[in-house]
Amino acid sequence: LEVERKIRANDREYNLSFKYATNSIKTSKYNPFTFLPLNLFEQFQRIANAYFLFLLILQVIPAISSLSWFTTVVPLVLVLSVTAAKDAIDDIVSTHIHSLFIFLSFFPLLRGDDWEVCCEPPNNRLDRFTGTLTFNSQKYSLDNERVLLRGCTLRNTDWCFGLVLFAGPETKLMQNCGKSTFKRTSIDRLMNVLVLFIFGLLALMCIILAVGNGIWENHAGSKFKAFLPREENTVFSAFLTFWSYIIILNTVVPISLYVSMEVIRLGNSYYINWDRTMYHAGSDTPAEARTTTLNEELGQIKYIFSDKTGTLTQNIMTFNKCSINGKSYGQDQSILFELESEMTPVDFSFNRLADPKFLFYDHSLVEGVKLELPDVHAFFRLLALCHTVMAEEKREGDLVYQAQSPDEGALVTAARNFGFVFRSRSPETVTIEEMGIQRTYELLAILDFNNVRKRMSVIVRNPEGKLSLYCKGADTIIYERLHPSCSEVMKVTTEHLNEFAGEGLRTLVLAYKDLDEEYFSEWKQRHHESSVALEDREEKLEKLYEEIEKDMMLIGATAVEDKLQDGVTQTLEQLAKAEIKIWVLTGDKQETAENIGYSCNLLREEMNEVFVVASNMELEFLRTACICKTVICCRVTPLQKAQVVELVKKYKKAVTLAIGDGANDVSMIKAAHIGVGISGQEGMQAVLSSDFSFAQFRFLQRLLLVHGRWSYLRMCKFLRYFFYKNFTFTFVHFWYAFFCGFSAQTVYDEGYITLYNLVYTALPVLGMSLFDQDVNAGWSLEYPQLYVPGQLSQYFSKRAFMMCALHSWYSSLVLFFVPYAAIYDTARDNGKDGTDYQSFALITETCLTVTVCVQLGLDLSYWTVVNHLFVWGSLGMFFILTFTMYTDGLYRLRPSSFAFIGTARNCLNQPNVWLTVALTAILCVLPVVVYRFLSSQISPTINEKVRYKVCQMKEPAPRPRRTRLTRRSTRRSGYAFSHAHGYGDLMTSGRYLRRNALTCSTGLIPTGRSPGFKPTGRSAGYSPVGREQNPKQKVEPTSLQVFRAVKDSFF
């Protein structure tokens, strides 16, 4: 075991001597030589396969062997090879994954020198790291601040030096991934129970028959000894009979069941990959079923847990409307939607620095700017000055804003396009270009945002020397701090705000105040004192801020649209109709989350709000949440997302689906029964840990309502039919036992037993479970209610299984006793023997094959060409193979194996045989038809109703409609602004600005805390100081948080 890791810089040989893991990650299990033994070993670890191996061993014991070895070997080999082929393909695919995972520690200017790092061995702790660096015989300590984890992105830094400490599988990421839990579907779990039950049934039948054998041997068998000498001991005979019947009746535990299920799931997964309607042309991304074992679970989803940003919304903010000094600008969105072609966006060509992607449709606003209306100018000046955005200008005129939140980015970009271009900032200044004239404002203070203040202000001195305070924030907060003279404007603005909020826009109110030089310098002094105070610093600062941010003048309000993904509202509505509960789990704060809730119609005006704040009341939370129509959880950490999912899984026993796009959704995606990843801009973590992935949230409805529903339906139909056909097949042996002295004589010939599951009945049922549809995709989407039976597990349950078994029991009775009675004491039409064992076997086989075929035809509701081919082909195959196996040639080849020679020719030309076949088929199917007809007449299910409707209409499925939902709401948003605390500090401290730090940094200066930027604008509940904003819920930092942060330990 590695105790300590030693790495020397630029000393390859020394480092190689330890044989540390290399950078490639090998996820494949096999190589060509180990494949066969390893794979076989693995396969026989599966209970089912081991069971068949055990059977095989039983079959070679002559005293027990009631069936030739090949009846087990042929299916077993087939099953093993199909599985092996699948494993091999999976393995070849996974061999290609090689990734570069680096763990870095970096130091300035140590290249070429001889330095050595000594650190802890690889582990999965993301929050701590210990080690020492020895350089020129001096030791420096290394801690968590000095390492870069795999997956980090460097920001504002072009390059850095480092040393790879852990590579490949030893990186903290890989150590942290753990083994993803193997997900199983609820049908799988039910199957485990059922298989146990079947084993019980098998044992019961064998015990009954063994006892029967004991009794028979005692009474009749002993008298028959002259013709067939045997052991004296009846108990021993019964014991042997027990095992013999275990062999014969083994088909109740169908060997091909599991492999068939895998094939079906694989096929249905391919349909998802192939679905054009789930292909997103914009990003050239088709949907992908990354897990091929969970399909039918998609048809049983009861709860959806959705991330918000990037999943429901595009995480794109657009400056949509504004109200300036009582005048509203911006076009109504719904009108805009309809008249899009006629609308021309505002021409920003007068502004060389304008962002070409920015679109605005109200020309009056740009006129206002050009006319130099003071209010309009003040409005945009405020937007250009009051923010914490950073500008990067690599080439002249090519501005890139790095905004901490997309809201801010949208506002600053809007100002930029309207001629108030934010160019650059230093800790003390902000440079903007006002209508082509560059002006540098002196930045005197940033009164930063936080959750209580819900506003931020800057105090600047313009080039003319005038002091001003600019403030933006939540309407309620700002309104309290306005000068009484603004009341007229306030009234109008309030109306506008209501209007904006009604459209689901995020609003902010802007205000300013001119400051007195004397007052400010005095305030500045007090501010300085407070900010260095050791006690109550926060409160003191708070007070100071309160003091200066009052009697402000209202400028106006902005409305930013948090753009929803396409079709989100319709999708949510559809899913709600399918009685799927949707919970939105987001790291954002309440107001933002609520805002989105309204804008995608999850929340409606008439709903009452319930807030649950407590964290340690799991059950209470769950109970409350489940009463609610809509649940939106905000300020949720990634870990809590997973906990919520686990909670529902644990107490509601419902199938859950989690959908998300970001790394912070990974835990939730892994925790839920089904994880869906949106492949978007947020990187690949969510997709990589998901089971299904696609590009757009709206594809979810097709995934569930079409693919999921079909998969579930098909799997259930498959299982019901599969059990039916195998039970029926097997139970006939049971009845025959009572006529053959419980001697473990089979009813069918061995060839038929071997081929029944593999050839005669395999393809039709496979065809059914790959092609069947009760109603087509269009109708499935038209009636989301069709999804409900899946949630209630109505198609396959213990009850359905028992019905199957009962039906089989009845069918087997018919299939045994009708041929028995029909051939009793009769003869062929030429007087010769027609009642011999071989004829009886063939008659029963024919009856069985035809009956299960008819039953399949009854179950099949969608006869494609392939289904016809499979059904008729299998039936034909039965006759072809039967005749082939009974030919003279094969008999001459191996007389003992093909002893049924001539039976088919002599038997199937008899009219009474065909009359028997017809009668059994009619009798077996009759109760099923009657039951189905009666239930559809008395209490039709939703499926039957829809099918009836489809039949009546005789017209193609309706095209998916695109209805535009109009929502009117007077609800006012709070400070719906995804912004995190702590950036103001960063802006004024200037740490971020020392771009050329490399040249001036000396040695190792441990900084108290290392602020960093998150790569994206999402403030998922975390502030840049690495502290959670909600101290009430203390959770361990998860991998995801840490991966987001980039440690700039340079500065």
């Binding site: 990959n273 009793y824 003869a827 392939v866 001539g902 009474n912």
Partner: protein, 354 residues
């Protein structure tokens, strides 16, 4: 999985628009509607009814007569004699009289019937060597182990044919005498050959190769007869030497094991060439004389002579006609019930429209 690596361009990964991949294959989707189910039921009921009646009439004109001779007539003492294995070689003859009430017109078939004889026990059925019976030299000299303990005799000589099935071959010989009212006795002439399946006689059972110089007896040189047999396999038929060895019709018939413990096997077919039998088997009194060899007492079995006619439908079996009539009635009743439900409860489909 299923990812297409090839091709670039903006839509390179777009799935194909084929009906198969998009699950839009044209299909026929039948469903159980009243318009299809109810007429089908009525028609099916009618079809079953007609079939049932036709079959019933057919079976009504198929005569069958069973004469149980286990311990009837003078056979009681033979029956008792055969209780003990030690007396198995003592010949015993007996006769049983019976009456045929109606003339059996046309071809008449004579079967021997056994009750409670389990030819379908697994190990009994396995106890045979098909390779030996197809005349393979190797198996003749070294029978399959499945035949044990009837594979070798006490001296280690291979048994031909080996196994329990052949060993227990039915060995009563039956002669039927017609007793017309004039007091005379006419033996009912039977074809004793051509009673086995063609495939059995010509493919499944073959004698070891012989030729003009090499007789059947020589071919079986080195083997011994089955334990319970009185004569070797190559001397089964005194009259027709071509009916000896493994291709003996009686042996072949016996070797086709019955599916159930009560069964009958073809013994002979009435030869209608002459005498009073040209039209079939005339009504009247008959005597059955038996060379009583086959013991049935140990397993509480019965032996019988079955005289039967056959039609296209086979022998006299009332099951299928009655089953079809019952099924027809059943379908009719359910059809009426379904119609009632459809009209009353289902409101002629209005239920479906909600």
């Amino acid at each position: 999985m299923g990812k297409k690596q090839a091709g670039t361009g903006p839509l390179s990964r777009r799935p194909d628009n084929s009906a198969f991949k998009q699950q839009r294959l044209p299909a026929w989707s039948p469903s159980l509607t009243p318009q299809t189910v109810l007429p089908t039921f009525y028609i099916l009921s009618l079809v079953c009814l007609l079939l049932g009646i036709w079959l019933l009439i057919t079976v009504e004109y198929t005569y069958e007569l069973k004469v149980d001779y286990t311990d009837a007539g003078t056979c009681e003492q033979c029956f008792n004699l055969r209780k003990h294995a030690i007396d198995s070689s003592t010949p015993c003859k007996c006769t049983v009289s019976f009456h045929v009430p109606k003339t059996f017109p046309g071809d008449v078939f004579f079967y021997y019937g056994l009750r409670n004889f389990h030819q379908n026990l697994r190990r009994y059925m396995d106890s045979r060597d098909d390779a030996q019976m197809v005349g393979r030299k190797n198996n003749l000299k070294a029978p399959s182990s499945y035949c044990a303990p009837f594979d070798y005799d006490a001296n280690g000589k291979p048994i031909a044919p080996c196994g329990a099935v052949a060993n227990s071959m039915f060995n009563d010989s039956l002669t039927v005498m017609y007793n017309p009212t004039d007091g005379s006795k006419i033996q009912v002439p039977l074809y004793r050959k051509g009673i086995a399946w063609y495939t059995d006689k010509n493919v499944k059972f073959r004698n070891p190769p012989t030729n003009n110089t090499f007789s059947l007896q020589q071919a079986f040189e080195g083997t011994t007869r089955p334990l319970y047999w009185q004569r070797p396999v190559y001397e089964l038929d005194d009259i027709d030497s071509n009916n000896n060895g493994f291709i003996n019709d009686d042996l072949i018939v016996w070797m086709r094991e019955a599916a159930f413990p009560n069964f009958k096997k073809l013994y002979g077919v009435l030869n209608r060439a002459q005498g009073p039998f040209t039209e079939g088997l005339p009504a009247g009194n008959y005597t059955l004389s038996i060379n009583y060899n086959f013991p049935v007492e140990p397993f509480r079995g019965r032996k019988e002579l079955v005289i039967s006619m056959v039609t296209w439908f086979g022998g006299q079996n009332y099951f299928l006609p009655i089953a079809y009539l019952v099924t027809s009635g059943l379908i009719l009743v359910t059809a009426v019930v379904l119609t009632t439900v459809f009209v009353k409860v289902g409101k002629k489909g209005k239920n479906m429209e909600e």
